[in-house]
Subunit: 397 residues, 2 copies
């Protein structure tokens, strides 16, 4: 990996190593956007690097749909589990844990240890299931702010996230303007389009109409709505990849084991089994996902995506919605991302510039579609590295 | 509706009126691409206008995924059923039934009267179900050619279709080069992309994994895989509409009955019920579809789409694949069609031009995405009208 062009001597980027999650318990009720509140909940988190004496070098990483607090390093309880942004965060990496104290947190309603639908509802003693309150991006930000209090962090050097994580960074900038120096908003959008909502809705219907969903109470039946989760994940995957990268990676190639016998294009099986590589890939992704992801969480998180629209309270005026923000912004998009296209990031940038905020915007020429924000594009990595060097310089001043 | 700029006196475009379907029975076995053959099958068709004495004015209309032989007019057995291309075909319409004898045919394996999976398998006496042979675009064309023989039509003035129908028009041009004067290929592609196949595969998985699919033998259980069909159709609908038209038609508007109470954007219900208009629209489309469409047919037709790739037998060389074609071509695409984008139509045009064929190509600026080929865009209608006036002039010579 390139170390960029900073003046320090070259140093190999490393891993944060083996990491264990911590758990914070919150007794006080948290008022949610829906009007209900939740008390006695847990948030699971990981930290990497050291908090400095002034507590000014903390960076919060917000996760997207299917990710977790396990952002970097190797999970102590599962050596095969590498953090989902391990290429971005670590000693000598773009978000350098030799300089920053980085926090990954699992959001409320997710399924990786923080309180969610599979937790016991205190009022019934049984899993919440469909009774877990619908949560919003703003609710998550308020919960994250309490975690910051718990960790003694008054102000983050930066709040950073991609996709849904970028929505959280946006919300931080307006809900707690004094509590962050920078918002790093990658491959995100100020709100979902009708098409984005449509894809979410189809995925939800696949889950909800799976007979093994049992109205969200599948835990009581010892089953999971595996078929619905698989279809939901397959739909998601199509929207994460660009048409180009799908063509390049899979094209119309027949599945390997089949194609090995004969390369002839007319050597079809004439069945509805896997025929093309792309089918095999999607089924594999769906199957893998259905083994670890909670169906109620999928519904909750897609709904949080649907609902996010800070401009709605200002008659659609994003400039007014972002007016409270005081921090500086790094916004990045990827040319082939058709889920949250560059145009959507430009809307954010335009609104911030109208508010005379300090904005760095990068539109990165990358072939991988929405997925690019998780990948090792060298230009992308250099830009994030360079931006965090600027933040590090401010912190150490 | 505009009558274009032809010199005849203006005349109101009308309907072909009430139409009844006919049925042709074919005893001889038809050899299919898969290697199996099918005998004793029916094809259901409708005709509009009069076949001229020389039998030179016949136009064959090929249908796409969910359509049928009922192309124009009012079905005799269902006065609410208007043909799916009634805006295009009729007296005084772009494909003018005062001049042309137009045939709509339901393809083998479909579910509107031609032999398909719900028909009795002669070898068991029970519905074919999953044992109905997988059919290809080329198989359909061979079956259509037999229907032409049956109707005494040696040569079509034109073979015309949109989307999958356009694939059939392409296949006609190379399989029966002497039997058509013009191929009219609208909103089509020379082959599916990996992304196109991916969407088909997700739709198929939704159907196949529905417990009420019963491995395709649901007829025996008195059920239909309604949930799978609904999800499949919802996915399809997203790909038929452009992002823009979805934004314009639905945006992020809350469902009417709900929004009537309050227009406030933060007036969410905080449930997974229908919240946005787009959700309501998709569920309605899915529900409607599941009431009339056969699940096995959905699998068959999406597989025919996947398999179509005439260039595959020529190492991907579309020029060679289209070399046998002798007819003239009208190719049209729509700027906002992201399912089969203009680029895909241009590939066809380029290959035809390399073969020095006579090609008219129109890239129509329309907001409606893939669906545009079924809609009343004035420019589109004028271009088709004008092209068929040219065909009519040739026929009457």
């Amino acid at each position: 990996m390139s170390l960029g062009n900073h003046a320090q001597p070259a140093q190999a980027a490393g891993s944060v190593g083996v990491v264990s999650a911590s758990k914070a318990h919150f007794v006080e009720p948290l008022a949610l956007s829906s009007g209900v509140s939740i008390a006695n909940y847990d948030l699971v988190y990981e930290t990497y690097g050291q908090l400095n004496a002034q507590h000014t070098n903390a960076v919060l990483i917000c996760h997207a749909l299917n990710a977790s607090h396990h952002v970097a390093g190797i999970a102590a309880d599962d050596p095969k589990s590498i953090g989902w942004w391990d290429n971005m965060i670590g000693p000598g990496k773009p978000v350098d844990t030799n300089r920053f104290f980085v926090i990954g947190v699992n959001n409320l309603g997710s399924c990786f240890g923080s309180t969610g639908p599979m937790f016991a509802n205190p009022s019934t003693g049984k899993p919440y299931g469909p009774d877990f309150p619908v949560v919003t991006v703003e609710d998550w930000v308020h919960a994250q702010a309490r975690l910051a209090d718990h960790l003694g962090i008054k102000r983050f050097a930066a709040v950073m996230g991609g996709s849904l994580g970028g929505m959280q960074a946006q919300a931080w900038s307006t809900l707690y303007p004094e509590r962050l120096g920078h918002a790093v908003v990658i491959a995100s959008t100020p709100k979902l389009s009708a098409q984005n909502i449509a894809f979410n809705e189809v995925a939800r219907r696949a889950i909800i109409t799976d007979p093994e969903f049992h109205g969200g109470r599948f835990y009581d039946f010892g089953v999971v709505p595996k078929r619905g989760l698989e279809v939901a994940r397959m739909i998601g995957h199509i929207t994460y990849l660009s048409d180009d990268v799908m063509a390049e990676r899979f094209g119309r190639a027949l599945k390997r084991s089949h194609a090995e016998q004969s390369g002839a294009a007319d050597d079809f099986k004439f069945t509805f089994d896997v025929e093309f590589e792309i089918e095999s890939y999607l089924r594999y992704q769906g199957e893998k996902f259905s083994r670890y992801f909670d169906a109620n969480t999928y519904l909750l998180i897609t709904r949080a995506l649907d609902y996010f629209d800070p401009a709605a309270a200002f008659e659609g005026d994003l400039v007014k919605a972002l007016a409270p923000a005081q921090c500086k912004f790094f916004v990045a998009s990827f040319t082939t991302d058709w889920r949250f296209s560059p145009q959507r990031s430009r809307e954010i940038v335009q609104a911030l510039l109208t508010n005379r905020r300090d904005v760095t915007y990068a539109e990165i020429n990358a072939p991988h579609g929405h997925d690019a924000f998780l990948l090792d594009d060298p230009q992308y990595m250099r830009l994030v590295r360079s931006y965090f060097e600027r933040i590090a310089a401010e912190v150490s001043r």
